[in-house]
């Protein structure tokens, strides 16, 4: 008798395992960038508490991984929203269209400043992007020989520009896999090397070489690739007053008691300066919504409304407490309007 009970129970268990009725998804699924993650989660939590909808599920997969999942197709098994710390690429947009994701609504949520910071125990630095390029690029123009390039010989900031302190160059920054690094290269290194006519000349003759000179960061130990854990960078800056770190504004904001941001081209990375667009090194953050899912997955429109409300992304909204730099009023209005009318993105 015992045996038959065991057989019966085991079989029942097997079946009930399979028989969990697969039902339609009733929560929003969000994937994407780890930079947008803190903002998206804050909004999601507010949204989940304040409405009758379930709290969205947010995965931190990175912008690329997120857009890849997002663009895999239409249907409940695919995410509804993708967060990105950069704009969607044309190739990704086309991949989306190929898989039937034809209408995407683009929402720019604000800016994230990338800061160069050091310990409060050392003086604040004021630096130009072209000096940053000279300090961090792998090869720089040879001052003695116009038109040729040499391996970066600069050891101290003073070597780069006599106005800067005579302190050893030591910069802790993000690794190549990170979106912050990509943005830093684009906003600082590319801009910095544009200041050299000899490099500008290359642009027309040898484009590949031009890019590789502008975008390759030196590897002789001066630029140290630190981990994704920006908390550790902050700690390290604290004990080493000579070192500088590169990271997102929100970590500077959380640690104003210990570190200070360097001025770049005379503008300090303060909240107001970044918001006004005066601070040169800031990047926009986005998220993308699958229009076809609106109406099928409950709550997407309400989530969008929460995100684009003034109490969230406005100048005094709760997202600014988490370190988001809001857009200027007119830009905010424009995007809020786009969201309301669900105007799909076009990319030509």
């Amino acid at each position: 008798m015992k045996k038959s009970i065991v057989v019966g129970l085991a079989a029942a268990l097997c079946v009930s395992g399979v028989a969990v009725e697969a039902s339609a998804r009733d929560y929003i699924s969000i994937v994407g960038s780890s930079t947008v993650y803190p903002f998206a989660t804050t909004v999601a939590e507010q949204f989940g508490k304040a409405t009758r909808f379930k709290t969205p599920k947010i995965e931190s997969t990175g912008s690329g991984g997120g857009l890849k999942l997002f663009c895999s197709g239409i249907g409940t098994e695919y995410p509804d929203i993708a967060n990105a710390s950069r704009r969607i690429k044309k190739s990704e947009y086309e991949q989306c269209r190929e898989k039937g994701v034809k209408e995407i609504v683009e929402v720019k949520i604000g800016y994230d400043g990338i800061v160069l910071a050091n310990s409060k125990n050392a003086p604040q630095m004021d630096i130009e992007r072209k000096d940053l390029f000279l300090a961090l690029a792998k090869s720089v123009p040879d001052p003695a020989n116009e038109g040729t390039f040499i391996d970066n010989p600069h050891k101290t900031w003073k070597d780069v520009n006599p106005a800067l302190p005579a302190v050893k160059i030591e910069v802790l920054g993000p690794p190549p896999t990170s979106g912050t690094r990509d943005a830093f290269v684009e906003l600082v290194m590319d801009e910095g090397c544009a200041a050299f006519p000899s490099i500008e000349a290359l642009k027309n003759t040898d484009k590949d070489r031009y890019k590789s000179i502008c975008q390759t960061i030196r590897e002789d130990g001066v630029y140290i690739e630190a981990g994704e854990n920006d908390n550790l960078i902050v700690q390290k800056l604290n004990v080493n007053p000579d070192a500088y770190g590169i990271f997102g504004f929100s970590f500077l904001d959380q640690n104003t008691d210990r570190i200070q941001g360097s001025k770049i081209e005379g503008k300090s990375p303060a909240f107001e300066e970044i918001a006004a667009g005066a601070y040169p090194v800031s990047r926009p953050l986005y998220f993308y919504v699958k229009k076809a899912h609106i109406g099928t997955i409950p709550g997407i429109e309400e989530y969008l409304a929460e995100f684009t409300s003034d109490k969230a992304w406005g100048e005094e909204g709760y997202l600014t407490d988490k370190g988001l730099i809001p857009m200027p009023d007119d830009e905010r209005l424009r995007f809020a309007d786009d969201v309301k009318s669900l105007r799909p993105l076009t990319m030509e």
Binding site: A10, L13, G17, V20, A22, Y27, S29, Y37, P38, A40, T41, T42, A44, E45, G48, K49, A50, K54, T55, K57, I58, E59, S60, T61, E77, K120, E228, N229, D230, N231, S250, F251, Q254, T256, D257, R258, E316, Y318, K322
Partner: protein, 429 residues
């Protein structure tokens, strides 16, 4: 002995040389023994260090600072048909205002409101929704304080530091001292930590969601890996013929036991998510991946346990006419089952603490609502720890440690159960 002390005078007796050498050998013996003891003690020292460092960082998260507010639920603040739409934040602001009427400046008001957690309005909302009779009255309510206040109360913010280097400003410290003087600020048991899911605000974050996720994942793992593991062990140990195919299976099992767990994550990503199209972040997928990971452990432990049953038992059963199957199921299994269970518990404990493969299958996610089934999105305790360890807010450090304490407690209970089983049922033949 000549070559030891070739120039020894003849007056030295052989016995002295032997004794001297003996003493030396005994000293070496003692040294060696001490070395062994030192090795054990240093391992234990590491264990102690690990535990003290985590407990000392985490114990304070089990209490949380609350603020007592007198909230006036005035009738005109509520629209009975739409209770959820009322301005609960406003109620809290008003009650704070009444405590500190001298605060007028807009900036200062913001700082004052910052003392209370942003979860407080929702707590008030829940209260009102469950009991509408309180509309029109004034109640005293304990609401959670902001994490900065909590950190200050626990002494993790240095108040003697210069104002610019503190997250709480001087004026806020003044208010906090005032509240403390009125007995309106108190540390109470942190119920939120055990009864809510994840949150971006440290003071509202809890481990219930992750614990439920861990539970569902483990149930799936247990239901699949125990029967399958025991069945494979029985087959390999009792029935399998000696041939190439069985050799291949054995090599595979032994190798899988030592394959890095992250590789199983890659397998889960490619097979369960991309090929079978199972939902991301679901405990079902986590359970499947962990099943594949723990199976070898369970199979190996079960085989050892079957091996330890002496052949005389089998021979006796076969001798009185039992079939091979009867011998195994009626006589060998009952003697081997405690060992199998021990192996299974140890395997489960490993699965409970595992996080690397789950990173690959979408369980690194922000999930607030505790999961209600094996197909709903969930995260597990170790992954929650990993997520919190990366958060910028300082109050998350103690919460991470507290979550580790909870996880370790679960693991200790499981390991203790395994040790108990082993000592209770272990037989020496």
């Amino acid at each position: 002995m000549q070559d030891v002390e070739p120039s020894a005078p003849s007056s030295v007796r052989t016995i002295d040389i032997i004794n001297r050498r003996l003493n030396k050998r005994y000293r070496a013996e003692k040294r060696f023994k001490r070395l062994g003891l030192a090795a054990i003690l240093s391992s234990l020292l590491f264990l102690g260090l690990l535990f003290t460092s985590i407990v000392s960082q985490g114990y304070s998260a089990f209490v949380q600072t609350y603020i007592l507010l007198d909230i006036h639920f005035s009738r005109d603040a509520f629209d009975v048909s739409n209770l959820a739409g009322a301005d609960y934040n406003g109620l809290i602001r008003k009650s704070l205002q009444s405590l500190f009427p001298e605060v007028r400046d807009r900036q200062e008001k913001r700082m004052l409101n910052g003392l209370v957690s942003s979860g407080a309005p929702f707590q008030i909302q829940k209260m009102v929704m469950s009991d509408t009779s309180m509309i029109g009255s004034t109640r005293s309510v304990w609401v959670p304080a902001d994490d900065d206040v909590d950190m200050l109360m626990k002494g993790r913010i240095d108040r003697s530091a210069p104002e610019a280097e503190r997250r709480l400003k001087d004026v806020q410290l003044g208010w906090i001292d005032g509240l403390r003087g009125d007995l309106r600020l108190k540390k109470k048991f942190n119920r939120i930590f055990f009864t809510s899911g994840d949150s971006r605000e440290p003071e509202l974050a809890g481990i219930l969601g992750a614990t439920m996720g861990s539970m569902y994942t483990l149930i799936v793992t247990l239901l699949l890996s125990f029967p399958v593991g025991v069945a494979s062990a029985i087959y390999l140990e009792e029935f399998a013929p000696r041939n190439k195919w069985v050799d291949l299976i054995e090599v595979n099992i032994n190798n899988l036991a030592a394959v890095p767990s992250i590789v199983f994550g890659l397998l889960g990503l490619a097979v369960f998510l991309n090929f079978f199209g199972l939902p991301r972040s679901a405990p079902l997928v986590g359970g499947l991946v962990l099943t594949l990971m723990t199976l070898p452990t369970i199979i190996i432990a079960s085989r050892v346990s079957i091996q330890s049953v002496p052949p005389s038992i089998r021979e006796a059963a076969l001798g009185v006419g039992a079939s091979k199957m009867q011998t195994v199921f009626h006589h060998v299994m009952p003697l081997a089952i405690p060992g199998m269970l021990t192996g299974t518990i140890i395997g489960m404990a490993r699965a409970l603490g595992e996080s690397a493969p789950l990173l690959m299958i979408g369980m690194v996610a922000f999930i607030v609502d505790p999961p209600g089934g094996i197909l709903e999105p969930a995260t597990v305790l170790p992954v929650q720890i990993y997520l919190w360890a990366d958060s910028p807010e300082r109050a998350f450090v103690e919460r991470t440690s507290a979550a580790i304490i909870v996880l370790l407690a679960f693991l200790m209970v499981m390991n203790a159960a395994a040790v108990f089983l082993r000592s209770r049922f272990e037989r020496r033949w």
